[in-house]
Symmetry: C3
Subunit: 311 residues, 3 copies
C-alpha cells in the first residue's frame, strides 16, 4: 500500500495497514542508527520545527535526532523562550512558523486538541508529540514496534496497561494501536483513575494486578504523576506502589518471557522496583532506541505526501 496521510494526530485515525506500514518502514530505519555514519539524505533541505509548549527531554530529542539522521534542518521552539509569552495565540505562533516555509511541525501541548486545531488551519504536516490526556501516537507506535520485534507479532497477544489510565495519552493511543493490530488489552489501575465506560473501546478492565500479571504477555506500566496525589486521586504513593507497582515478588506468577515496558521516565520504587526496571524482562531502553526509528519512519512517510486542499 502507499502512504497517503498528510498528518499524524492519533492512532485512532489510522487503519491497521497504515500502522503496519509505519512499523515496516521503521525496521529499515532502525538499521541506519547502528551504522558508523548514522545518516541518510532522505529529507535533505526539509525544515522540521519542534514546537513544544510542554517541556520534554526524550520526545523532543528523539524527534530531533530522527530528523537529523534523515538530514533535515531542525528548529527548536519551547514556551519560555518564545513570544507566546507575549500573549500570542498558539495558532498565530504556528502560522508564523509555517510562513517560513516549514515542511513539518512536531507539536506538544498540555491541551488536548491543539494538534487537530493546527492541522485544520495549516498546510505544513502536523505531528502530534503528545496533547493533554488525549494522544501520543509515536509513543504507541514505538511500543507496538518493540512488542512486534520481541514477540514476532502483536496479533493474539495479551497486553495489560497498568496505572493512571484516566490521564494517560500513552494508554489511550496504545489502546487504539493494540486493538487494531489484534491484541487483547486489559486495563488495570486504581478505580479513581479508570475512565468510565472505557470497555467500549474493546478492552477489559481488571483491578486485580496479581490476576492480570498471571495471564499477560506484555505488561505496559504507565508513569504516575506525583501531582495526582495532591489532586486526591490517590491516598498515597506508597499505597499506590503496593497495589499497582510491580516488583520481583509480584512477577513470580508471570509468564517467563513477559515483556515489561514503560514510557519513561520511571519512578523507581513506584511503578517498578529497580530490579525489575533493570531486569531481563524489561525493554525500557529498547523502547527508547525504537522511538528514533519509528519517528524517522513517520517523518519520512509524511514528507512524501502533499496537503490535500479538500482535507
Amino acid at each position: 500500500m502507499d502512504w497517503t496521510r498528510h498528518d499524524l494526530l492519533d492512532l485512532q485515525d489510522l487503519t491497521r495497514e497504515e500502522i503496519e506500514l509505519i512499523l515496516e518502514t521503521a525496521k529499515s530505519f532502525k538499521e541506519v542508527s547502528t551504522r558508523d555514519v548514522k545518516k541518510v539524505p532522505a529529507l535533505r533541505g526539509k525544515t522540521i520545527v519542534m514546537l513544544f509548549f510542554e517541556s520534554s527531554t526524550r520526545t523532543r530529542a528523539s524527534f530531533e535526532l530522527a530528523a537529523k539522521r534523515l538530514s533535515a534542518d531542525t528548529i527548536n521552539f519551547s514556551v519560555g523562550a518564545s513570544s507566546v509569552s507575549k500573549g500570542e495565540s498558539v495558532l498565530d505562533t504556528a502560522k508564523n512558523i509555517e510562513a517560513m516555509n516549514v515542511d513539518m511541525i512536531v507539536v506538544r501541548h498540555k491541551s488536548a486538541g491543539v494538534p487537530q486545531m493546527l492541522r485544520d488551519h495549516l498546510d505544513s504536516a502536523v505531528i502530534n508529540a503528545g496533547d493533554g490526556c488525549r494522544a501520543h501516537p509515536t509513543q504507541a507506535l514505538l511500543d507496538l514496534f518493540t512488542i512486534q520485534e520481541k514477540k514476532g507479532r502483536v496479533e493474539g497477544l495479551d497486553v495489560a496497561i497498568v496505572g493512571d489510565i484516566l490521564h494517560s495519552r500513552v494508554a489511550r493511543s496504545n489502546i487504539f494501536g493494540l486493538t487494531k493490530l489484534g491484541a487483547r488489552v486489559t486495563l488495570c489501575g486504581p478505580s479513581t483513575l479508570m475512565p468510565k465506560d472505557i470497555e467500549k473501546l474493546g478492552v477489559t478492565v481488571d483491578y486485580d494486578l496479581k490476576n492480570v500479571i498471571k495471564k499477560v504477555d506484555v505488561l505496559m506500566m504507565l508513569r504516575l504523576q506525583i501531582e495526582r496525589q495532591r489532586e486526591k486521586f490517590l491516598p498515597s504513593m506508597r499505597e499506590y506502589a503496593r497495589e499497582f507497582g510491580v516488583n520481583k515478588e509480584k512477577l513470580k506468577g508471570a509468564k517467563k518471557d513477559i515483556l515489561i515496558m514503560h514510557p519513561g521516565p520511571t519512578n523507581r520504587g513506584v511503578e517498578l522496583s529497580a530490579d525489575v526496571a533493570d531486569g531481563e524482562c524489561s525493554v525500557i531502553l529498547e523502547q527508547v532506541t525504537n522511538g528514533v526509528a519509528v519517528r524517522m519512519a513517520v517523518l519520512y512517510l509524511l514528507a512524501g505526501t502533499k496537503h490535500e486542499p479538500a482535507e
Copy 2:
C-alpha cells in the same frame, strides 16, 4: 554595484543602491525556500551565532532558518542560559564568541547602541536583529521587499506607520528605508507616543487615522506593548484600539488595494481586528515569509566582504 559593507546596523547608514541590492538578492533567495530541497551551499562552513539578550520567537528562528538554508553552522545564545548571568559584560561575551572563529554575530539587545559597540570592537560581521528603540533593519528590509513585491515599486507610494512611534525600532528603520526609496511617509499615533521633531526625518505627522487611511497605499501597524499603559503613555487599551486600531469599518474609506502590514505578533482587537488581520488586504504572513529571504540576502552579502581595518 558591489556590496562593500561588513556589518548591518541600521538602514540609516545604507544608500538607496545598497538597499536595492539587498532586495534584488532576496528575490532570488525567496525562490530557494519554495524548492523541494530548501538549501544552497553558499555559506557552507561559516559559523553564525545568534546572540539574543532579549527573547524572540520569529526573528531568531527567521535568522536561524536563513543561515541553515545557506548551509551555515549556527549556534544559539540566549540570556538565561549564558554566563552573562555571571556578570560578564556584553562585550566580553561577544569577544569570547568571536574568538571561536565566528564569522557573523546576529545580536538583539534591549539597549540601543549595543550592535554599534560590538561592531567597533569585533572583526566578526555584526548584524543588528533589534536594539532597544533604535533600529531593526532586517524588519524594515522585509517590509520594503513586501511592498515592492505587492505594489511593483516603493517610489511614490504613500505609506502610513501607525502606533507607538516613540518606542518603535521598526518605525525608525522603516522611516529611513521608505524615504530613501522614495515613498512618502505619514506617522500616526497618540501624541504621547510621537517623538518630538520627528518631521526632521522627512516625514509627515497626522493624528487623524481616518484621514490617513483615506490617502495611503500601505498601512503599517505597530505592535503596542501592553506595558505602555502601566507607564502612563496611554489611558487604556480600549481607548487606544478605538482611536488607532484598524477594523473593517475604518477601512471603508481606504483604497481598494491598500496593503495592511504588521511586524507581529499582532494584538488582535487592539492594533487590528481579527477580520482585518486575516483579510485579503493583509500581508502579515507574507512579511514573515519574506523575512527569511531578506535575511538570507543579508547573510550572503555580508559573508562576501572582509573587515576593513580602517573601519
Copy 3:
C-alpha cells in the same frame, strides 16, 4: 603512538604521551577554523550530546562548534528544559540518551564524580566538561596548548596558578597536566582557599604573589566565585583583589614575556585589572580560540576507539 582511550575524565588518568598526542592533533585542527570553509567531514553521521546540568556559555558553545566543524550532529540538553526536573536520576537520563544510539556524551555537573559514574554505566564515550571542584580536562588541555604555542614548550617552565585553588577544577586539572609535561607549578591564593597537603601533587605553595610573579613564565589566574565571600572564605572582594589580583603595578617585577592566562569569564578589577586582561601579555582570547581546536582533537580521537568491555 595510537590513541586507545574511550573516555576523557581527567588529565590525572593520561600519560604524558597521550596529552602530547591530543596537543599535536589539536594543532592541525586549529588550522581548520581559520579556513574559509571551517569544516571537515571526520565525524559525519556521529551523534554528540551536550548534557549540561550546569549552565555554561563558552564551554558548551566551544564543544558544539568543535562537533559541528567535524560535521557531527549535536543535541543540547540543559537542566531546566529536561525531564530531570521530573525527578529522573542523572544516570537514567544519560542511559535514555545513550539508548538513542548516541556516540558521545559531553557532560557537565556540579557534583564531582558524575562523569566517572556515567563512564562506568554507559557504552557511549563520556567527556568531562567540568565536574564540581574535581576536573575540567579540556580547559587544562587548551591551557597547555596555549602555553606550548606561545613558549614553544611546557617542560621546564615556571607556572603559577593564582586564586581559589580549593574549589577550582581548572586548577586541579592543570596541576596534573603541567606536572606531567614537566613544568614547575606554584600555587598562590588565600590560605583559606588552599587545599591541605596539596604539595603531595608535586607543586609548591607560595602565599606571596609579588614573589611568585617575579619568577614565573606563566601566570594562570582563576575566576573568583562571588559566593565564596558569603561562605566566609574571604573577608571582601576588595581585600582579595589587593592581595591576589594582578595589575600593571604588580607586574613590574615580572619577566617581560610573562603569559597572563584566565579561563574566563574574568571578574575585571578582581583577578585582573582591565589593562592587564586586555594587555599584550594576556592570551585570554587565544585560550578561547584554542579551546575549539583542542575539543575537536578530543572528539576526533575518542571517535576512533571502541568501548572495551573490560573497562
